[in-house]
């Protein structure tokens, strides 16, 4: 039981053929949006866009939590890293995100203590081993990841590990979907929904997409066949005029999701308004530590912050909304490359621009 069967080339070929046939019934070109950085990566890695018929356009929305993290958050993380007796622990994804003055990676060079961990529990262990220091974990990620930070907080509380703090940059998924579905500038006909966020929040969380906005949506996993089954289903829904929300990842996603995980998050976090880079402020789209856990909140540590600098010419926001493809940003591939990233869309290997640069730059086909 691993994902090899789900990547079977014969099945992929068959699904492509079925999509092409179903797409013949479409009245016009349609745009599908995925909202998960891991989907962006998986789609690019298999070259799926190149296999779809020309009138089925697949674009990436604001699904990369690193890309939508505001510059101010990274600035604060850097400032914390340079505080005396402070260790900042982070997922690798954040290390090269550009801030106003550099990046977390660059801060290491200036003497800041920043450590990449695989799990928030590893950061908790660092806290246990460094009792004279404050350990700040950078909590970024959507609903898949927030429960793991909440779990670490629960362990910290139970074990009275007082030097473990979290700087929350968590974001939650349904709110931006509402914004995108309702925005007339964003011409998206249907959504591919993030499979592992859905493991946590459950299939029922998305019914509003069809019911309130008339958009079909499919919850899918991350293998090529999972994604293509989703594309096939959405094309069929659009061809039939049938707005539905369908769970195509039933082996992992239930209607109600992971109740225990959500309860753990609820214990420590409350819904808050959050700034999404490129989309602006979205109500109830973030997670903030509850006031009774302010002793765990790294936000209360006073640090000097620079004026946040949004790089001029950067069009990450429009890329995130799917209104433009990366090559339409004047900085793409020239001033802004993975080696010298200006916007977060290029820094994260999941970011639309980075994935495009690595996989699609040479395709030379509009919408490819």
């Amino acid at each position: 039981m691993n994902d090899i069967g789900f990547g079977d080339p014969a099945a992929v070929k068959a699904l492509i053929a079925r999509i092409a046939r179903t797409a013949e019934r479409l009245p016009r070109r349609v745009t599908l949006m995925e909202v998960c950085g891991t989907h962006t990566h998986a789609i690019a890695a298999a070259g799926i866009r190149r296999l779809l018929p020309p009138h089925v356009r697949l674009i990436a929305g604001p699904g990369c939590p690193v890309c939508v993290t505001p510059v101010g958050y990274v600035d604060r993380a850097e400032a914390l890293a340079q505080c005396a007796d402070t260790i900042v622990c982070t997922f690798g994804d954040l290390m090269r995100v550009p801030s106003s003055t550099g990046s977390l990676e660059a801060v290491c060079a200036r003497g800041g203590d920043v450590r990449v961990v695989y799990s928030p529990r590893d950061a908790l262990q660092i806290a246990r081993e460094n009792q004279g220091k404050t350990v700040v974990f950078l909590g970024v990620g959507f609903e898949t990841t927030a429960p793991t930070i909440a779990g670490a907080l629960a362990e910290a509380e139970a074990g009275e590990i007082t030097n473990f703090l979290v700087l929350s940059g968590h974001k939650t998924m349904p709110a931006p979907l509402r914004v995108l579905a309702a925005d007339p500038e964003v011409k998206v006909d249907a959504f591919l929904l993030p499979g592992h966020v859905s493991v946590i929040i459950g299939a029922r969380a998305y019914t509003f997409l069809a019911a309130e906005h008339g958009k079909p949506a499919a919850i899918v996993g991350f293998t090529p066949t999972d994604v293509l089954r989703g594309v096939e289903e959405l094309v069929a829904c659009l061809a039939d005029g049938r707005p539905e929300v369908i769970n195509l990842y039933k082996r992992a996603v239930s209607d109600d999701g992971n109740v225990t995980a959500r309860a753990t998050v609820d214990r420590f976090f409350r819904a808050s308004d959050a700034v999404w880079r490129g989309l602006g402020a979205i109500p109830a789209s973030g997670l903030a530590l509850r006031t009774e856990f302010s002793h765990r909140d790294a936000e209360r540590i006073e640090v000097a912050l620079p004026e946040p600098v949004e790089p001029p010419g950067c069009r990450c926001g429009d890329v995130l909304k799917g209104t433009i493809d990366p090559p339409e940003c004047p900085l793409f591939g020239a001033a802004c490359t993975p080696a010298a990233a200006i916007g977060a869309c290029m820094v994260s290997s999941e970011g639309t621009c980075a994935a495009w640069y690595r996989h699609e730059r040479y395709a030379g086909r509009a919408g490819a």
């Binding site: 789900f6 068959a14 695989y118 799990s119 993030p194 592992h196 082996r251």
Partner: protein, 75 residues
């Protein structure tokens, strides 16, 4: 934003356990999925089990894919 890998739960105690895939093992926390049982295939993300894979559904999907591939090959 969802790198999670299906791995088999091979050891557990009250709060945590060990998962394994192809001989690679890691200690994980079961705090978010306390009802996972030994032998279950579980989704592992950032050192936690976040969900249990429904094997019957998995096999059903694989079977569906097989049928799709066969039907297409038969033309």
């Amino acid at each position: 934003m969802c790198l999670a890998v299906p791995m088999k739960l091979v050891e557990r105690d009250e709060f945590g356990g060990v998962v394994e895939l192809d001989g690679v093992r890691r200690e994980i926390s079961l705090m978010l999925q306390p009802d996972a049982r030994l032998g279950d295939y579980v989704l592992v993300h950032a050192g936690y089990v976040i969900g249990i894979v429904d094997e019957a559904e998995a096999h059903a999907t694989l079977e569906l894919l097989r049928q799709i591939a066969d039907a297409e090959a038969a033309g």
